[in-house]
């Protein structure tokens, strides 16, 4: 009896232990595989043009700078700037875009690659980049080549209102269009998780229509509130940054590629006391708990590392094969340079034979009229006299 009891007790203890260990094991393993992404992309868009919207370009460039610093390479960043502020004729310090009024931080830098600039930043191009429906001749740097294991960061800034965002002073994108674009991306498996940040007036209206899974959104102000700019610089003459992005940049400067800061810290950036507007966020479509999502999941980049135990010998150089053809076919005739301005040749140039095109437009109409009148007068049956 006591043996049985002891055995049962032991079994119970053992099973408890096993269950306990198993749980620990799965949580650790669970954490390790929790994020599930293998590459990072960023789409950073500034939608406004003109010199007095300097701050929107500075916003986008500061996020670009942080994202590059934390590891995402240029080939994985699609940067769209609607106007050129750095080399604008009004800029007293050319090739610079500053974020702070003492000109401390040049967010433009020396190594920037803008993929869409000037008039190329349109609603159509933005949606095409997101959904991947670009013309076949688009170069790789202008494409968002994400797959179903990509975490994408999308940052928009500019002038907006309740339910729309203005592009280039001539068109707008609505929150429904954006939500539909994200749904297209989800159905085409173009993202694993997506973080959407918007810094405009009434920015929260832009994310209230989202309905696709794995989306997390942050905005700088609620519906009915305006996002404010931070501080002007008297030398440059315009406001340099918006409040929300300014404090976001300050927060991101503290983050390094191995930091464990999570999304809850990001939600606390720029409280109302600093921002005047109330930043908002939306996490109901996101499957993981925001507290377990690292900042570097979206702002940093996953590096694929393969560990190998083999040694590779690097000393022997690769000899390119001799490409010259055999002695059999040496060209004997010598090549010459062309005369740049061959006056005699130009004067006696024959006129080019143009391709014959069938007549169109006025001539076609005229001939049709003539033929109609002819047939009306003479009738079809008289044609036999002609032919």
């Amino acid at each position: 009896m006591s043996n049985d009891f002891l055995q049962m007790h032991l079994k119970a203890v053992m099973s408890c232990l096993v269950i306990f260990l198993y749980k620990v094991h799965t949580t650790k393993a669970g954490q390790f595989f929790s994020s599930g992404h293998t590459n990072n992309w960023a789409v950073l868009v500034c939608t406004s043009r003109f010199w007095f919207n300097y701050r929107h370009v500075a916003n986008t460039l500061s996020v670009y700078r942080s994202v590059k610093r934390l590891g995402i390479p240029d080939s994985h960043i699609v940067l769209m700037l609607a106007d050129d502020m750095a080399c604008n004729y009004r800029n007293p310090r050319p090739a610079t875009v500053f974020s702070h009024k003492n000109m401390e931080l040049n967010v433009y830098g020396d190594d920037v690659e803008v993929d869409y600039r000037g008039y190329e930043v349109t609603v159509e191009n933005f949606l095409r980049v997101l959904t991947g429906r670009l013309p076949p001749s688009t170069p790789r740097s202008k494409r968002l080549l994400s797959d179903d294991r990509s975490n994408i960061l999308i940052y928009l800034t500019g002038h907006g209102g309740n339910g729309f965002l203005k592009f280039q002073d001539s068109e707008e994108i609505s929150n429904m269009e954006l939500a539909d674009a994200f749904e297209q991306m989800w159905q085409k498996r173009r993202y694993n998780e997506l973080l959407f940040i918007i810094d405009t007036c009434q920015g929260a209206s832009m994310y209230e229509r989202f309905y696709s899974p794995n989306l997390m959104a942050l905005a700088s102000s609620q519906v009915g509130e305006d996002s404010l700019s931070h501080q002007p610089d008297l030398a440059i003459g315009v406001h340099l940054m918006d409040k929300y992005t300014f404090y976001l940049l300050e927060f991101l400067e503290e983050v390094h590629p191995a930091s464990q800061a999570n999304m809850n810290d990001l939600f606390k950036v720029c409280p109302q006391s600093q921002c005047v507007s109330t930043p908002g966020h939306r996490t109901d479509l996101f499957q993981r708990d925001p507290g377990s999502v690292l900042i570097t999941d979206f702002f940093g980049s996953v590096r694929k590392v393969e560990i190998t135990k083999d040694t590779i010998n690097l000393t022997s150089p690769v000899e390119p094969p001799i490409q010259r053809s055999g002695s059999g076919d040496i060209q004997i005739e010598s090549l010459t340079y062309v005369d740049q301005l061959p006056v005699a040749e130009i004067i006696h140039q024959k006129p080019k034979q143009k391709d014959w095109h069938p007549p169109d437009g006025f001539i076609l109409g005229l001939w049709t009229l003539i033929l109609l009148v002819f047939f009306q007068t003479y009738g079809i049956k008289h044609l036999k006299h002609i032919f």
Partner: protein
């Protein structure tokens, strides 16, 4: 209320003069200089390898070396070069030429040249897959689109010929791209479209805006600058985007094409904050096939990356006429690019023979002479591959201090201007004025003009006058524009009489189109010129594009033209509604009333006193008043 926002259209004229390539890149070796015009400086003694026709080998490997004149002694020794690398597959050379300009500004020109002995376009050999010094992105572009020659340039600012002379490599404001395709290409337009898209991705520029509305096919100008026998102009495409902005995002990929990047060699000087704070900034990429050796039996590909910048005396010099590498670029040189076979800095000291104009330090005894655009110039050479150039501090900072005031510079031989005449927003006249300042020589000039379709030219009003007399061009090629399809193309070969001003005028009418109010339009045009100079001694130009003969070719661009386009009056709908409603109300309303109104007699109501009296009478039962 007149919504008189003019969609400004800038008309950009490029007067195109291709030069005997700027001496920035190659210094000329003059063999057997026999003239007595020189200050008895000994001639360049060239080795057997230098023959003048040798266009691809760097001839300054046998530079004339002279002891500094201030020593008083004159000795000359030949600087024996390293033996020319035997079949080098690819080689890279870099140089910087600094030319102080008369107005106190300073002109710096970088050239990076990669020579590669391979053939992208040959099908029977294996496809090229191993790239060493030549950038892979460009190599793949060349083989995919069967490109024979590619020239692309990005410029910010306009070159002021009257103040600065002629540039080494001219370029129009904005972006310019011209390409010669191989004769095996069947669909040139399709290749052109794809090529512009690919290049816009490589250079981070909006080159994808190049389409059929701004592409032209010149018939006599823009001949290939590289090797080639046939020149069928069906394979040439030329386009400019005059409003293209140049900024750091264009410089970054340009620097990444260099073998050493921006980490070593001359490219460390390229800091965007200083480069864009200048009066003129131009960066270009030129790819063409050239002769591999003297016999010229096979081709080698040459990639030249050039960057020309003019630093303004007042904004950066702060009034003091003193320049140094550190002041210009905020960096000094510490080493040459290890992959470069030659790395040199040249300073133009032609105007400073005795050191009275400016002072140059550190002093150097290496000199070199070159002929640039028919003009003999002397350069001080600093060889960065030698360790002693860097001195004790391991850093090379060139210092240029102006001592005296320079006189006026000679007027450039060829100069062109362009402007729009006329008033109002409907018609106008484009005037192109070309000045030939040579006292006794006449030159043939090829003028190429590409006008957008929304300026409708009246070609019957085209007049060319020189010295107030009619000057009939010997060749005219005109291709009219098709609305929203292609621009106008006008090419003319004009003989410019000596010491004269030639004016070309053509009237135009502006099309009424609805343009974006904030945009403007530019019209580019170009003039090409050739000058034939025969001098006593044979000239060699191993520079780049063009000839072995004693002439040189100049391309001059004019400034962009700003043309206002009429914009619609946006108050018209309001006016129309008001007027129509008024007319309808007054006209129709009165007519309707006239037809349908009936009249009835109406008893007037009695006054108040009478009504009161009637009321009292009714109460009394007495008969009422009338």
């Amino acid at each position: 209320m007149a919504a008189h926002r003019c969609g400004l259209s800038l008309v950009c004229i490029l007067i195109f003069s291709s030069l005997a390539h700027p001496s920035s890149c190659d210094t000329l070796e003059k063999a057997n200089d026999n003239t007595a015009t020189k200050r008895s400086i000994s001639e360049v003694n060239t080795d057997g390898s230098v023959a003048g026709e040798d266009m691809n080998e760097r001839q300054w490997q046998s530079t004339d070396v002279e002891v500094n004149r201030s020593d008083g002694t004159k000795t000359s020794e030949t600087f024996t070069p390293a033996p020319a690398p035997a079949p080098a597959r690819d080689q890279f050379q870099e140089e910087l030429v600094i030319r102080p300009l008369h107005s106190g500004d300073i002109y710096a020109s970088f050239q990076f040249r990669t020579l590669w002995d391979t053939d992208f376009l040959q099908e029977r050999q294996k496809k090229v897959s191993h790239y060493r010094l030549f950038p892979k992105s460009l190599g793949q572009v060349l083989s995919k689109f069967s490109v024979r020659e590619l020239h692309i340039s990005f410029t910010q600012g306009f070159w002021r010929t009257m103040q600065w002379g002629q540039p080494f490599i001219p370029s129009p404001p904005g972006a310019e791209l011209w390409v010669w395709f191989h004769h095996t290409v069947s669909d040139v337009d399709g290749n052109w479209k794809e090529l512009t898209n690919v290049l816009s991705g490589i250079f981070c520029a909006s080159l994808n805006f190049i389409d059929m509305t701004n592409t032209v096919q010149p018939s006599a100008s823009f001949k290939p600058l590289g090797l080639g026998n046939a020149t069928d102009h069906r394979f040439l495409r030329y386009a400019t985007l005059p409003r293209e902005i140049v900024c750091t995002e264009n410089l970054t990929p340009w620097k990444k094409l260099l073998p050493c990047g921006s980490k070593a060699g001359l490219a460390v000087l390229m800091k965007s904050e200083k480069l864009f704070h200048s009066s003129f900034h131009s960066q270009a990429v030129h790819i063409r096939p050239i002769c591999q050796d003297e016999q010229c039996t096979s081709k080698a590909w040459e990639l030249r990356q050039t960057l020309n910048v003019v630093f303004d005396h007042y904004t950066s010099g702060q009034g003091k006429k003193e320049w140094s590498l550190f002041k210009m670029f905020s960096r000094t040189l510490t080493e040459a690019c290890p992959l470069a076979s030659s790395s040199k800095v040249y300073v133009d000291i032609t105007d400073n023979p005795e050191g009275e104009l400016f002072e140059l330090s550190p002093a150097t005894h290496l000199l070199s002479r070159a002929v640039v655009l028919g003009d003999r110039r002397t350069y001080s050479v600093y060889d960065l591959t030698r360790a002693e150039t860097f001195g004790q501090l391991r850093s090379f900072n060139l210092l240029l201090r102006w001592k005296g005031d320079s006189g006026d510079m000679l007027r450039p031989l060829l100069h062109a201007e362009r402007y729009v005449a006329g008033f109002g927003l409907q018609t106008g006249e484009i005037h192109t004025v070309i000045y030939n300042n040579h006292p006794y020589r006449a030159f043939p000039v090829l003028l190429m003009d590409s006008v957008p379709w929304y300026l409708q030219l009246y070609v019957h009003t085209l007049t060319v006058t020189s010295k107030s007399r009619d000057n009939k061009p010997s060749y005219i090629h005109y291709q009219p524009a098709k609305d929203r399809h292609r621009p106008h193309l006008l090419e003319m070969l004009i003989q410019l009489p000596p010491h004269s001003m030639t004016e070309v005028t053509v009237q135009f009418e502006r099309a009424l189109i609805l343009k974006d109010l904030t945009s403007s339009a530019l019209v580019p045009s170009m003039v090409a010129m050739s000058t034939n100079f025969t001098q006593d001694q044979p000239l060699f130009s191993s520079f780049v594009p063009v000839k072995e003969e004693s002439s040189y070719f100049v391309r001059v661009y004019t400034e962009p033209l700003l043309v206002n386009l009429p914009t619609p009056d946006f108050s018209m709908p309001y006016n129309v509604i008001c007027l129509t409603c008024t007319v309808v109300a007054v006209g129709y309303g009165s007519f309707y009333n006239l037809l349908t109104r009936t009249f009835q007699v109406d008893e007037p109501s009695p006054p108040l006193a009478k009504r009161l009296a009637n009321f009292i009478r009714r109460i009394r039962g007495v008969p009422l008043l009338a």
